[in-house]
Structure formats: structure tokens, C-alpha cells
């Protein structure tokens, strides 16, 4: 196996005392000395800085880039104004999900952020479908920083006041740390915040400038996972994969009206039928009783009875103060409040279907 890649912030992570782990082919910070729970709480109360440079950033250039991308995703991309972004997913012919992504409209073409583990496959998929009419340009010389939390806007505005004019899912280009950065007001924590695409050679300087604010603490992949789980946000390869459809995953809201009427994306037949008739299974939130964490793979059953699903993400929610989980279950039992049980080490743990998110989103709309 080849040794994992390093992001431009690698040395800074070591300097900050990070415990590094291999993730999606990169050596990434799992946690810093404060620990996952402290990092998680800091993000909810102040602001946390994450290195998410492992994620794929790419541009699609060409006059009809938006229309071309619509051939691969069910979201309304043509209707996106410049500086607006949308969460969507690449689907396959069976209506399954190849990856989830954020697509933004730029003056020239589109700007995409995709998952690290799916980056190579996504680029191949895009090139096969869109070239030569469009050009797919992976941006390998850029880092990606996420500044998340209620103090994020105030901190970033100290460097560049105009960024605070962005609303949730809006983006723009700003000079930060002397470099041209693309700032998008979005994230993966449920909090207000920004994702900042910065040239690799300016990334450490920008990270240091942000960490210099007393509100900001670094946070690793561990806190990123517990924050997104509490926010009810899906993780590809766990809650989403080639066998789960957007409707089953509770992502029907990402499919615009025109796309529902016109179709024209892979798997439209399956997905549009599920939109009309409902899906046989649904991703639901679960609140297990007691303290034992319920993790990915645990069976979900009717009390004392049949298996109706499986947990796809689960763990301890520091803000909730107890275990939280998400999993697919038979849609007959998806109503919040339904009493179920999950199997942990052979023992049945009572659990209740819960409304997602577990912790309310605090986006700046």
C-alpha cells in the first residue's frame, strides 16, 4: 500500500499535537490534545477549525456546464445563480448514490466539492460524461479549511468584513492571508460557518491567522463525525451508497420541482416513482435508551421481534449528552416516537425513532 498523502497543513497538525490517522488515503488529524468531546463542544459554543483538504475540489468549465451536470445529478443546477451552491448527489441507473457533493455556480462554470474517498471515481465519471463539451479540472493545488461555529462569522469578518454578507449556501471570492480564496457559507456540523478554498501555499498562514483568534480551536475528524451525526447529515459510504436512493436517505428535498417534472438524471425512473409512491425503507434517527453507544451495523428490530433495519451511523453525541444513531428501517415504522430496539453485543437496547437533526441547525439563512 502506498503511504498516505499529506495535506498542506500536515506540519501544523503535528505542531498542534494532533493524533494522526489514515483516512481516505490521507494522513489526517483525528483529534488534538483537547480531545473529541472538547473539540465538539467548542464548535457548538465558539468556533472550530477543521482541515478538510482531503476532499476533492474541482471546476467544470464550458458554456453548458450546468445543463451538462444535470445529466448526472437530480438537483436543479441550471437554476443556480452565480454565487449560489446546492447539495446534491451523483446517482446511478438504479437510483443509488455514487457520491454526494456541493455544486456551486461561478461566473465561469461550476465549482464542486466531493468526498475524498470518491474523488478519483467522481472525476472519471465527470470526464466520461461531460468531456469534450466541458472541461473537468481537478484543483489539486488548493487546501480546504472549514471554520464552523457561532463565532465563525465574527472571526472571519475580522480578516475580511464582506464575508459576513454571504448567506447560507452562498459563496464568493475574497482575499484572505494574501491569497485568492473561495469562501462558501456552508459546512458539516449544523452550525453557521464557512468552507474556505485556499491555495496550498497560503493554507498554513490562513489557518494560523484563524487560530490566532481566541474563539477558535482546532478540531479533527473525530469531532467532525460526532457533529455531523448530531446534525443528521449523511456520511457517504455509511449512510449513503450505491444501494441507497436519495428518497430513502431523506434527501428528496434536494430534488427541485423542474427535475421532478422533467427527470433526465440517472435512476430518474426509480427515484421519481419513490417520490410519488414512497420508498420501502427510510433513513431515520434513533435515540437509544441509556448510555451504551449504538454503532454502525447494529440490527434494528421491533420490540422482541423481527429485524426491520440496520444502523448506518451511531455513537455518542456530546451535545445531546447520550447515544445517537441513524439507520435505515422499514418505512412502516419510521414515525418519530416509534418504540424499537437495537442489538448491541447480543443485547436488546430499547430505542425510539427520533426526528432529525438531533441538534437544531443554526445556519445563517
Amino acid at each position: 500500500m502506498s503511504s498516505p498523502a499529506r495535506t498542506p497543513l500536515f506540519d501544523l497538525h503535528l505542531e498542534l499535537g494532533a493524533r494522526m490517522v489514515a483516512f481516505a488515503g490521507y494522513e489526517m488529524p483525528l483529534r488534538y490534545p483537547a480531545g473529541i468531546i472538547a473539540e465538539h463542544r467548542h464548535c457548538r459554543s465558539r468556533a472550530a477549525l477543521f482541515d478538510v483538504s482531503h476532499m476533492g475540489q474541482l471546476r467544470i468549465l464550458g458554456e453548458d456546464a450546468a445543463a451538462a451536470l444535470e445529466g448526472l445529478v437530480p438537483a436543479d443546477i441550471r437554476g443556480l445563480a452565480v454565487g449560489r451552491n446546492r447539495y446534491t448527489m451523483f446517482t446511478n441507473d438504479a437510483g443509488g448514490i455514487l457520491d454526494d457533493l456541493i455544486a456551486g455556480r461561478e461566473k465561469e462554470g461550476l465549482f464542486l466539492v466531493v468526498n475524498a474517498a470518491r474523488k478519483a471515481a467522481d472525476i472519471a465519471h465527470l470526464k466520461a460524461a461531460l468531456e469534450p463539451a466541458c472541461t473537468v479540472e481537478p484543483l489539486e493545488d488548493r487546501a480546504l479549511l472549514a471554520l464552523q461555529g457561532p463565532a465563525a462569522a465574527e472571526v472571519l469578518a475580522r480578516l475580511r468584513p464582506e464575508v459576513d454578507e454571504l448567506r447560507f449556501m452562498e459563496s464568493g471570492w475574497f482575499e484572505l492571508a494574501g491569497a485568492r480564496c473561495r469562501v462558501a457559507r456552508c459546512g458539516y456540523t449544523g452550525e453557521d460557518g464557512f468552507e474556505i478554498s485556499v491555495p496550498a501555499d497560503a493554507a498554513t498562514e490562513l489557518a494560523r491567522a484563524l487560530l490566532a483568534s481566541e474563539e477558535v480551536a482546532p478540531a479533527g475528524l473525530g469531532a467532525r463525525d460526532s457533529l455531523r451525526l448530531e446534525a443528521g447529515l449523511c456520511l457517504y459510504g455509511h449512510d449513503l451508497d450505491e444501494t441507497t436512493t436519495p428518497v430513502e436517505a431523506g434527501l428528496a428535498w434536494t430534488i427541485g420541482r423542474r427535475r421532478r417534472e422533467e427527470g433526465g438524471f440517472p435512476g430518474a425512473e426509480v427515484i421519481l416513482r419513490q417520490l410519488r409512491e414512497g420508498a420501502p425503507r427510510r433513513l431515520a434517527g434513533l435515540r437509544p435508551e441509556g448510555r451504551v453507544p449504538v454503532r454502525e451495523g447494529a440490527e434494528i428490530r421491533l420490540p422482541g421481534g423481527a429485524v426491520i433495519g440496520r444502523v448506518t451511523s451511531g455513537g455518542f453525541g456530546p451535545t445531546v449528552g447520550g447515544p445517537v444513531a441513524m439507520g435505515y428501517l422499514d418505512s412502516a415504522h419510521e414515525a418519530p416516537g416509534t418504540r424499537l430496539e437495537v442489538l448491541v453485543r447480543g443485547r436488546a437496547v430499547p430505542a425510539e425513532v427520533a426526528r432529525l437533526p438531533f441538534v437544531p441547525h443554526r445556519y445563517r439563512r
Partner: protein, 124 residues
Amino acid sequence: MTIYYTEEHEWIRVEGEHATVGISDHAQEQLGDIVFVELPEVGKKLAKGEQAAVVESVKAASEVYAPVGGEVTEVNGALEDKPEIVNEDAEGEGWFFKMKLADPGELEGLMDRDAYEKYVEGLA
């Protein structure tokens, strides 16, 4: 009173034929924030190396094994509500369970503190 360690990072403090078991400070540091500890039932008879408890950090569940064979005589109920005690004081207040040894001869081959510290250094 003598303390021994295992390669799986349990410690066992022995007084005569009675002993207290927990996970090492190194282990809690490696695991990070501990959010749940599943303890054995009092009266359970454990063989040396048998799974005795489960410790769960935010990230993952890890098994804790009996350093030697014996019968569980007491468990640390405080960990039920405050599992973070293991992070704060792994080799003291964060003990997991007490046991009556089946065969003190099984202690042979466990590491003393110096040997364990060298062992941990070798893992880095």
C-alpha cells in the same frame, strides 16, 4: 501490593489472593474520551485472557480481558454514570472490577511497571 500489566494494556493490582483490574493510563490516552464502560457481573468466573469488560470511546468499542483467571467480587459502579473517571484516573479511581484469583501462579509472565513502560515505548 504489586501492580502488573498485560500486553493488552490492562493493569492488575494484587493483594494476597484479591486483585483490582483496570486499563492503563496509556490505554485511556490512546482511546481518548471514554463514554461508556460495560462491566462484568459480580460472581462471574473469568478465565485468564477471557473478555471481561468493554470500554467505549467516542470513536470505537474495545474489549478488556481478564489478566488472570478468577471470580469477579465487585465492580466499579461509579463508571456507569461517570465513565470519564477512566480518563481522569485510569490506574486509581477508574478501576473496573475486583476479583478473587483462581491461581496466583498465572501472574507470572505479566509485566511489572518498568517492563510495561519499556513495552509502551517500543509501540511508539
